[in-house]
């Protein structure tokens, strides 16, 4: 083994080497190569398959030809360049990718883009603009409902949906009486927002922001 002092790796070289090995590793994933751990004896997988899909995003119709493996999140970010929706865990645990599809919030990372033919999709970019903020965006700024901001687009898409869900009378785990319309309380907001993780821990300010917006819309019930 070479003595460690002979390894003349600069930080730059190390980064290049790292990138090279990362891209080498990515090749088998991009193609249809058998994976060592789980491949059946005779692999029947097709090579890359593409499929067309049309839906509307923030009111604009789009038509895409996509690898069938493309998640809705990747379609939005990589193909439509709507990078507001964030990829956090990519497995439905963090909620950073939350978007509103046909009036309901979903984790866009756990949904195939090609399954959304004809859907109406709203992302953070469709809720408001820097010049004309959605009331929830304004409330998050006012109440300091974020620190790094990475989870914020998902938090805001969820928060807007939470108010809508309570207005529709959809119950939650903390709703006391299932046969009575749920109230807009802090407990209800916290439970309903539990699918959106904020690693900076801005939760209490997020609850204040939602309470303010909901109060304005529901007559001050808190």
């Amino acid at each position: 083994m070479e003595p460690i002092r002979d390894l003349k790796l600069t930080r730059r070289n190390l980064l290049i080497a790292g990138a090279a090995s990362a891209s080498t590793m990515a090749v088998p994933l991009a193609g249809a190569q058998p994976s060592a751990a789980n491949a059946p004896a005779n692999d029947t997988h097709p090579s890359t398959v593409t499929s067309g899909v049309k839906f509307t995003v923030n009111g604009k119709p789009v038509a895409l030809e996509l690898d069938t493996r493309t998640s809705l999140l990747d379609a939005l970010r990589e193909h439509l360049h709507l990078t507001g929706s964030k990829k956090g865990c990519d497995q439905g645990q963090c909620g950073a990718c939350t978007v509103i599809v046909d009036g309901r919030r979903i984790n866009s990372c756990l949904s195939l883009a090609v399954m959304h033919e004809g859907a109406e999709i709203t992302t953070i970019e469709g809720l408001g603009t820097p010049d004309k903020l959605h009331p929830m965006q304004a409330a998050f700024i006012k109440h300091d409902g974020y620190q790094c901001g990475y989870c914020t687009p998902g938090q805001i898409c969820s928060a807007v949906s939470v108010i809508d869900e309570i207005r529709q009378g959809i119950p939650s785990h903390v709703t006391g009486d299932l046969n009575v319309k749920p109230l807009l309380s802090v407990d209800e907001i916290r439970e309903r927002m539990s699918g959106n993780i904020c690693r900076c821990g801005a939760y209490s300010n997020i609850v204040e922001a939602i309470t303010e917006v909901a109060g304005g819309q529901t007559g001050g019930k808190a």
Partner: protein
Amino acid sequence: MKAFTYQRATSTAEAAASAARNPNTRFIAGGTNLLDLMKLEIETPAALIDVNGLGFDKIEPTPDGGLRVGALVRNTDLASDPRVRKDYAVLSRALLAGASTQLRNKATTAGNLLQRTRCPYFYDTNQPCNKRNPGSGCAAIGGFTRHHAVVGTSDACIATHPSDMAIAMRLLDADVETVRADGSMRTIPIADFHRLPGNIPHIETALEPGELIISVKLPKPLGGVHAYRKIRDRASYAFALVSVATVILPDGTGRVAVGGVAHKPWRVEAAEQQWSQGAKAVADRLMAGARTTEDNAFKVPLVHRTLAAAMADAKKG
């Protein structure tokens, strides 16, 4: 993720026949569990059949006073349905205790029944797992087993079924209605739908190749006091350590089904015969033969105490 062909099903019988002809096919509806497993290459279908267009998305009354829940009814819609909230509250409560709203908005009734264990050794493709790779062994046995099964286990597998909804379905004696590859229909009682692991833990349900769930039938309402108590490591959005579903009737009898303790929703009808003797008698019979480890021995007394709490609550009214 492995590449796959994608098609939207337009006929139930054709979908079932096609899936049976091509064994490496999966049906997809909500996709919230399947896509996660496909990203990790634990599930590696070569073909996906999207069944969302087949129309099984309604909740309708049955002639015998029950409800027929379409396989595609989303968890949010099932939990919110006024008839379910009023007459099958334990089912609403179980659904609302599971996952997050984002997931419940996509997840379907049939998909919820078919979701796979969250055993971390099943998810870790570097580990042996008889469920993921039959015959490779079980890394969970002798590993960290806080979340694992304590009843109905085998030497091949100690994984739990993760569903909350299925616990309530088992309590209510629901029937799973399917279409088989030859186009015929059949009804599978929920008690027979999920399997214990035995020597073949990779076979998790009674479904045949290609067989497609089209609905779940709920018998006529039981009445009584319904409760679903879920004990977990945080107050929301976590899988159960133990969950206890109960329906307690005015005549002093009751039913109990338990989640988080077995490879399937755990209910022992003979234990319910002990109801008048109190929670300890019922839970002793329910959890008889439990095989625990240092990590998960707490689950047995936790079932006892949670059942006792549910029974005390019902008395209060």
